[in-house]
């Protein structure tokens, strides 16, 4: 369970989160919606302790992580598999080395075992042929798939965290990523996906939160979201049925 208790966070003089409170069980599938700069990515970073809140408390799996140092947070971070926007693969490493990165840091596997594991993971997402490619040689969809597999390689996470996993992808690649996200939750594991794409959020999640100006404007299920009268949410929902442009 992830618990946020009146969490506030600022970048300098710009307040990004204002006393945000919520709790999310590890097996829940949550989509956090909101516009750019509304604090969605900040929220994910706070969950894994990459940022420290200005005030409030963050509890992960019963442990208060608010004041933990980097060494203490190592253990907490192994509970999550986080995939950042555009994959965040290491530019200087090829696909194999990117996926093997966590294995080299955390396991005592031999080179042969690492190679076998990396090939196995890439095979699961149909990218075995890309093992020697560098990140700049991959398409957006391939980057995300490699990033997801990298985040899985070293740990057995309790929950997945996705930052704009489908943003910038064409519908075909977005579909591949969405299916992969669903497949990974088959064992009862949950995820939090932050996105501004309502269409993808609706096909993936069961709970929806809407962030606006650092506060949670909405927290509810699919039906509540679809019936919401909050103007900002209505604007987001127009993505599902965009008005046709007037003919000239």
């Amino acid at each position: 369970m992830i618990v946020f208790d009146r969490v506030s966070f600022s970048y300098g003089i710009q307040q990004v989160l204002k006393g945000v409170s919520f709790s999310i069980p590890f097996n829940e599938r949550v989509a956090i919606l909101g516009g750019s700069g509304d604090g969605k990515t900040t929220l994910l970073k706070l969950i894994v302790g990459l940022l420290k809140p200005d005030s409030g408390r963050i509890v992960v799996d019963g442990e208060d992580i608010t004041d933990k140092n980097e060494d203490e947070l190592r253990e907490v971070r192994t509970k999550f598999s986080i995939v950042f926007q555009e994959g965040a693969l290491f530019d200087s490493l090829n696909v194999k080395e990117n996926i093997a990165f966590g294995l080299r840091e955390y396991s005592k596997m031999t080179e042969e075992e690492i190679d076998k594991k990396v090939r196995g993971l890439l095979g699961e997402v149909g990218l075995e042929h890309a093992i020697e490619l560098m990140p700049e040689e991959l398409s957006g969809g391939m980057l995300r798939r490699v990033a997801i597999m990298r985040s899985l390689a070293a740990f057995d996470p309790k929950m997945f965290l996705y930052d704009e996993a489908t943003t910038g992808l064409d519908p075909v690649n977005a579909d591949i990523i969405c299916k992969l996200i669903v497949d990974l939750t088959q064992g009862g594991k949950g995820f939090i996906i932050v996105t501004h794409k309502v269409f993808d959020a609706l096909r993936l999640a069961e709970r929806f939160m809407f962030l606006k100006n650092g506060s949670i404007l909405f927290d509810g299920n699919r039906d509540q979201l679809m019936q919401s009268s909050i103007p900002e949410i209505r604007v987001f929902l127009t993505e599902l049925n965009p008005p046709l442009p007037a003919s000239s």
Binding site: I13, E70, F90
Partner: protein, 259 residues
């Protein structure tokens, strides 16, 4: 809270972060884990990659200095001092400073932009998620690379400058080659060599720390990257010049050079 107060607090916090990075980066030299592959990569990038530009600049600096001195000293009848003045200037002052400035321009900007784009692309966050300390993985190898390669480049640069000075003194100014080399041998004493050898270590450390700090504190997209790269080079240049003065003063005191 007032904006001014927040800015002052941020400035103090930045300074604190810089000292922390500089200290932790140095501590990584003696504390595990060691990223030897990254160290070798950095040595290759900063040392081997800067080799030819240092060679070229050092050669022309040595020749220009020798040319200037030839013109002035010939008029006064002191041409035999060209070697001595070229030697002292290059070994104690111009060699270490010029090499460090070129190094900061090339390597400092490269390091700041590389780390800056890693920050913006969430690669540094990814390292932290994997439990890897970015200071150990990214900063320490760059500090080691600079501590080894800048002194090495300085020695090479000094040698080439002196050779450039020799060319002008002998073939343009028609001074005796043996007089030039005797003068150079005369200035290669313990005090001068130590003076010129200590500086590159300090300059290398400063350049690496400043560039890494500027890179890792990048925010705000492409504009932020441009800002941090520019700041890394400008701050490195200023700190090299300031540190050079302070070091010169201290070394003068230690070796008892009279003014």
């Amino acid at each position: 809270m007032k904006k001014e107060t927040i800015h002052i607090k941020e400035w103090i916090s930045d300074l604190q972060d810089f000292y922390f990075l500089s200290f932790q980066g140095l501590l990584g030299l003696v504390k595990r884990p060691f990223y030897s592959k990254d160290v070798i990569e950095q040595m290759d990038y900063s040392g081997a990659g800067s080799f030819f530009i240092i060679l070229l600049i050092s050669l022309f600096i040595g020749m220009a200095l020798s040319l200037q001195l030839s013109a002035e000293l010939s008029a006064m009848g002191f041409k035999m001092y060209i070697g001595k003045i070229v030697g002292v200037s290059i070994i104690r002052e111009i060699g270490p400073v010029m090499t460090a400035l070129v190094y900061a321009g090339r390597v400092g900007s490269g390091v700041a932009s590389e780390l800056g784009s890693m920050v913006l692309g969430h690669q540094v966050d990814t390292l932290r998620v994997f439990g890897v300390d970015p200071l150990r993985k990214l900063v320490t190898p760059r500090i080691i690379g600079s501590l080894i390669m800048l002194p090495a480049l300085t020695i090479i640069g000094d040698t080439v400058s002196i050779l450039g000075g020799y060319y002008i003194a002998v073939f343009v100014s028609h001074q005796s080659g043996s007089v030039y080399w005797t003068s150079i041998r005369g200035v290669l004493n313990f005090e001068n060599v130590v003076s010129g050898s200590i500086k590159p270590f300090i300059f290398g450390y400063l350049t690496a720390c400043i560039s890494c700090y500027m890179g890792l504190s990048t925010k705000g997209g492409a504009i932020g990257l441009r800002r941090s790269t520019t700041r890394a080079v400008v701050a490195s240049f200023v700190m090299i010049i300031v540190a050079d003065f302070i070091l010169t003063r201290v070394l003068f005191y230690i070796f008892g050079f009279s003014l």
